[in-house]
Amino acid sequence: MTFTRKNAWDLGAPWPPEVLWYARAVKVMKAKKAADPLSWRFWGGIHGYDAQVWKHMGQAVAAADMPTKADFDKFWIQCQHGSWYFLPWHRGYLWAFEKVVRAAMAAYVLPAKAASADLPKDWALPYWNYFKPNQANLPDAFGSPDWPDGTGDNPLYETERWGPDDNGKVYIPLTGPNAVEENGSLGEPVFAGVADGGSAGFGGPETDHFANHDPTHGILETQPHDWVHGNVGGGNKTGLMSDPRSAGLDPIFWLHHANIDRLWEVWKALPWAQGDPTDPKWTGGPAYFRKRPFVMPSPDGSTWTYTPGDMADLKSLDYVYDDVAPPAGLAPPTHRLQALGAQPDRAAALLNEVIAMPRTVELLGASDVGLRLQGGEISTRVALQAAPRARLAANLSAVPDAAPDRVFLNLENVRAARDGGVLTVYINLPAGANPAGHPELRAGSVALFGAAQASEPDGGHAGEGLTLSLEISSLVDRLHLSGALDAGQLNVRVIARSPALDDAQISIGRIGVYRQQG
């Protein structure tokens, strides 16, 4: 049987059978002890775990209820972030979770007074497509403490889910300075990136290890994945979804990740997308390097082991999405080339040249080191070095005869005491100007998903924080065409979404601007 994952909002509000049965399965899973491989907390722990974080979120697990050491070491804390394994690992995680949910549905005993509904044999995880018109709000069934009959233990409801305004109203902002964007990542032609200051790739930087939390997130992971986590979990209040160590405990996590998984399929169907890597270092996953393999428990008690290569083709996984059409208004990457003066045919040829070109990255400019946000923001100067700036200017002027460089702004070594923050970056914003009035100067926004963990000296990043990358090619093109690049510097202003973020102790090691050929 081929299962179809459907849009949760389009199933009908507020309690379509697919969501109702998901809630029933979650209830079954939540009733089990964390040590049980089919329990809710076990599956949350597979993504991430930290005793203090779970305790803080009201999810503490008694020592006696924890998994055995063998199960803990084998299954828990597996999530792949900041890596080209991000998408395939999460695809397998969702696929295995669906099977466990179906088993839990079968075990659910309908209360006598409950409205009868047949167990859907073709049940598949719905997805939350927050980008679709009028679907940016959290699906209703997740926001109500009650079941459809008014009883108050709806397992889809979560109190540790604060929303972008920290008031418990959960929605994804799609307009304004902190808007979550769908199209940015889909314009990237190449799956694999490198954590060297240039493009981190649609699917994430190439890594050669079990990348539980690497510092540089891929483009799709940065936007919209991280951002949705931050918007659902909260800003100044940190909810389950704000932190990768607790995110898997929120029932909406799975619908969010189904949408991210769907966007992978949307991207693969785009004409400029170069497809998944075929390198055995990707297809084989960390196991190729003799590192910890990807493993999931199955309802029959067996262990399912998989690799990224197993995840590349949905046909082999027996599920599809009901909608993988590209979003309306998605601009192809050739638009930038046309804006620089190339005719459409030439722009298409230049794009192919860029894709085929050897990839070279060099530092173009950098700020001072040790920047700390105060009052929720910081302004600094990024001095552009003369030689690479001249190379960039000559290169941009050479369009349409030659392919232009791409330019990336990196917030390097970003540390924070807690997750949940969103930083929006502006370039050359006039002094005293209202940022909201200058969307043309907005470089983009990044969420600090995983920043707290990345700031721990014994964490996976050795305390050096995250490095968050934004492509600013189009913005730099405009500066070039207006002659503003000749000033030899960029004035960068970083603004936290909520002004009361001082207790989050957000600091930026350095802001670097890089040019990339190819």
Partner: protein
């Protein structure tokens, strides 16, 4: 694409290969030197070495320095892939030679400071033969499985913010080299000491130690606790690396 661009790209990609080549070259020099000028230090041993004026004369400072630097050049480059790439990425192209030099001088400098007591200790252990070596190895194993050692190993993964311009770029690179060296010494001193303190087969032991610490460094940081979490995996990784290199060499030989 300009020739310069290709060169920049290709160098970043071959950083691991370049460092391993440096390591292999230094190892070869040690092997060749072990039979000649450097023999008293690498292979000499026992109380006689410390007690005999004639032999003491052989331990001229230049010999000590040569052996130590060759040991460092043989054993540490594979550990420096991450910091060298970090400096390469975070430096302006024309500053890379200077920042990499500042890092290297600081790193080698702090290791060289550590070398004097380690060599004296190694000779002292040799004076007590296999029993002395066994005691030293037991202490080394104790350190190896300690949480403190894992904490030091974790700090070897640091990639700090680096200034890009002026004297500050050199200062930051040198500070990085110094701190990286300190955590490296704290993590790896037993792997330098115990091979050197062996009564014989020192070079083979150094090679094995190099392979082990390089494989271990590939693992991400982990919470410190007793037990030597990554040792088994590192050994498997090292074995896999050797197997792949051997297989690749055989394939290349067959193809030629």
């Amino acid at each position: 694409v300009s020739t310069a661009s290709r060169a920049r790209r290709s160098f970043r990609r071959i950083i691991p290969g370049a460092l391993i080549t440096l390591s292999a070259t230094a190892a070869l020099a040690l092997v060749l030197g072990a039979g000649h000028q450097l023999a008293p230090i690498i292979c000499g041993g026992g109380p006689a070495l410390l007690a005999t004026p004639k032999l003491m004369a052989l331990i001229a400072p230049w010999r000590l320095a040569a052996v130590w630097l060759l040991m460092l050049a043989a054993m540490t480059p594979a550990l420096l892939v991450l910091p060298v790439r970090h400096i390469w990425d975070r430096s302006f192209a024309d500053r890379r030679p200077a920042t990499l030099t500042a890092f290297s001088v600081a790193y080698l400098g702090i290791w060289t400071l550590a070398g004097a007591p380690l060599i004296v200790l190694a000779f002292t252990i040799r004076a007590f033969g296999l029993v002395g070596w066994g005691v030293a190895a037991a202490i080394a194993v104790g350190w190896q499985v300690s949480p403190a050692r894992q904490a030091c190993l974790n700090r070897c993964h640091r990639r700090p913010a680096l200034s890009a311009s002026g004297a500050r770029s050199l200062g930051d690179a040198a500070t990085y080299g110094l701190t990286h060296g300190v955590w490296c010494i704290a993590t790896c001193w037993p792997w330098m000491l115990t091979p050197l303190a062996l009564p014989q087969h020192q070079l083979a032991a150094m090679a094995a130690a190099t392979l082990y610490v390089a494989a271990e460094r590939i693992d991400a940081p982990a919470p410190p606790h007793w037990g030597g979490r990554s040792s088994g995996r590192a050994v498997r990784t090292a074995a896999a690396l050797v197997w792949r290199w051997t297989a690749a060499a055989l394939v290349a030989q067959a193809a030629s």
